[in-house]
Symmetry: C2
C-alpha cells in the first residue's frame, strides 16, 4: 500500500508534531515533520517514549494529510503537486484544491483539541492500553503547549474540557504543573544563537501580496531578551532584506503574560497595527500572547 | 439576538435548499436562499410541507453560514464583507478567511450526507417527532437529488448507507421510487424558455483566471433537447459574449445515464478536455453525469 504522510507546518512546534503523530497512529498512517523539533517537543516525546517522526523532503506526487496548517506557504516543498487527502487545522484558512477533500477546521486553541474531539471513538478502539495512553498524552501536551497552559486568548472552554478528559486518560493528575513543565522545557535562551531562537518557530504570511515573516519564542524570564536585543535587531534586519516586506519577532513571557515585540520594516505600519509607540524597533505589549489571534490579524489590517 | 443566515449557492438546487433548511432547523438559525427554487425543490418542500426560505440580498455585515458551496463567486453579494461563521460543503475548495472558522468538507455525494453524518445526535435531540421526520425527509431528498438517485459517479457508499438510515427515520419505504419521483418533478422541458432551462442550475468557475459558466439540467428524455438545440446554441453564444471565456451546458438524461454537452468558446479546448470530436457545438457523452466530478475537472485541466 502506498504510504500516506501526516505532517504539520515548517518550523514545527509541539501541536504540529504531536497532532501529526497522534492522528497518524489513530489511522495507521506515517507521521512526518518538515523541520527540526524544538526542546519543548523533545521533552514531550521523551516523556511518552515516542520516536521523532521522519523528516520529509519534497512531497510531489505523494499522498499527504496536513495537520495544524492549511496554507501552502507553510507546508512542504512540492505541496502543489501532492495529492492532499485531508486537512485538520485551527488556523485561518487560505486553501484551494481542485477536488473535494476532507477539510476540518475549527477555531480551537490547538489542532490536538479537534483531533481529540472528532476521533475520540477511534482512540477508544485502539487495543493496546499503553498505546492509547501515549496518544492521549501527546494530544494533551499539544493542547497545553498551544494554549500556553490555557493562558493564550485563543483558549476555548472546549480546550479546557478536552484537556481534562485527555489528562484523565493519560494518567496525569496535575495538569497545570505538567503544562508548565512542558513550557519550561524550552528553557533559558541563554547561550543559544539568535538565529535558532528566532527561527525555531517562524512562519511566513502573505498579507495582500506582501510577504511578512513572524517568529515567536516563549520564555519564563523576559529579561534574557534585553541582553541580546542588538543581536536580535541586526538579525531581523538581515532576514528582512530582499526576502520580506517586514519581519517580526515576538518574545512572549508566559509568566508575566505579555510580549516584547521586535520588527524590521515600515515603522508607521507596525505602530498603526499595534497602536503602540516604538522607541527603537521593539516595545513591550502587556497581554500579547498569541501570534494567531493577536499579531497576525493586527498586521494584516495595515497591509 | 442577531440573526444567523444559512444558505447555499446561487441558482439553488435541492441539496442547497434542503441542506440550508435542515441545518438551520437543527441549530435554530434562519434558512435563506440566493435565487428562485426549481420545480424539483418545490416538489420536495411541498412533500414535507415546508415553507420556501426567504430570499437574501446583499449579506455585507451579516453573520452567515455557507452550505453546499465555499467559493465566493457562487455565494451571496457582499460575502467578502460578511462574518462567515461556518462552512459545510462537498465541493472542491477555494476559500480564504482571515480568522479560523468551522469549515467542514468531505468528498460526499451531497452536503446533506455530511450534515446527516455529523449532526445525527443533534437531530435526535429535536423534541417534535413531526419536525424530526421532516428534517430526515429533507436530507434524504437532498442526497437522492444530488447523487441522481445514486447514479452519479460522485455517489459514495456512505451516501447510500446514510440515505437508507434517513429513509427509515422519515418513514419512506421505497427509496428508489421516491428518488425518481423527485428527479421527475422537474418534468419535461417542453414549453419552457431556454433561458430558464440553462440558468436554473448555472455556476461560475475561475479556471486559472478564465471565467467559465457551466449550466446543467437533468431530464428523463434527451430527445427533448434536440428540438431546441438551435435556441440553446444561440443563447450560449450570447451568454458567453463579453462575460465568459467559455459557456457550457450539460443536459443529463438520468435514465440513459449520459449527457448532451453544448458549449460556446474555443473548440480545441473543449475537444481536448473531453477527448471528443464536436461536429457542431454539441456532442453526446455516455456516462457523463456529474458537473463536479467530470465536467469541472476536465475543463480545468485545459485552461
Amino acid at each position: 500500500m502506498e504510504e500516506i504522510y501526516v505532517f504539520g507546518h515548517k518550523s514545527p512546534d509541539t501541536d504540529t508534531i504531536c497532532s501529526a503523530i497522534a492522528y497518524a497512529k489513530i489511522k495507521n498512517w506515517t507521521p512526518a515533520r518538515l523541520g527540526e523539533i524544538n526542546e519543548e517537543t523533545k521533552f514531550v516525546l521523551d516523556r511518552f517514549d515516542i520516536h521523532v517522526p521522519e523528516l520529509l523532503g519534497n512531497v510531489e506526487g505523494k499522498k499527504v494529510i496536513l495537520v495544524d496548517h492549511n496554507e501552502f506557504q507553510q507546508s512542504a516543498d512540492g505541496i502543489e503537486k501532492a495529492e492532499i487527502l485531508e486537512v485538520i487545522d485551527h488556523h485561518k484558512i487560505k486553501f484551494s484544491c481542485d477536488k473535494p477533500v476532507k477539510f476540518l477546521t475549527e477555531p480551537s486553541g490547538s489542532t490536538a483539541t479537534i483531533i481529540a474531539k472528532y476521533f475520540e471513538s477511534d482512540i477508544e478502539k485502539i487495543k493496546s492500553t499503553d498505546e492509547k495512553k501515549k496518544i492521549n498524552g501527546l494530544l494533551l501536551s499539544a493542547v497545553l503547549s498551544d494554549t500556553v497552559v490555557f493562558k493564550s486568548p485563543t483558549t476555548t472552554e472546549e480546550d479546557k474540557k478536552i484537556a481534562n478528559d485527555l489528562a484523565k486518560a493519560a494518567g496525569i493528575s496535575d495538569i497545570i504543573k505538567f503544562g508548565i513543565d512542558i513550557k519550561k522545557a524550552n528553557g533559558s535562551i541563554k547561550g543559544k544563537p539568535v538565529e535558532s531562537i528566532i527561527m525555531a518557530d517562524f512562519k511566513e504570511f502573505d498579507f495582500n501580496g506582501n510577504k511578512v515573516g513572524i517568529g515567536q519564542t516563549e520564555i519564563v524570564d523576559i529579561n534574557e531578551i534585553y541582553e541580546i536585543k542588538d543581536e536580535i535587531s541586526k538579525f531581523m534586519e538581515n532576514l528582512k532584506n530582499g526576502k520580506y516586506e517586514m519581519t517580526v519577532f515576538v518574545a512572549t513571557d508566559i509568566i508575566k503574560e505579555g510580549s516584547e515585540l521586535f520588527f524590521a520594516g515600515d515603522k508607521s505600519k507596525i505602530e498603526k497595527a499595534f497602536n503602540a509607540k516604538f522607541e527603537g524597533n521593539f516595545v513591550y505589549i502587556p497581554g500579547l500572547m498569541s501570534r494567531k489571534k493577536q499579531v497576525v490579524p493586527n498586521l494584516q489590517r495595515v497591509f
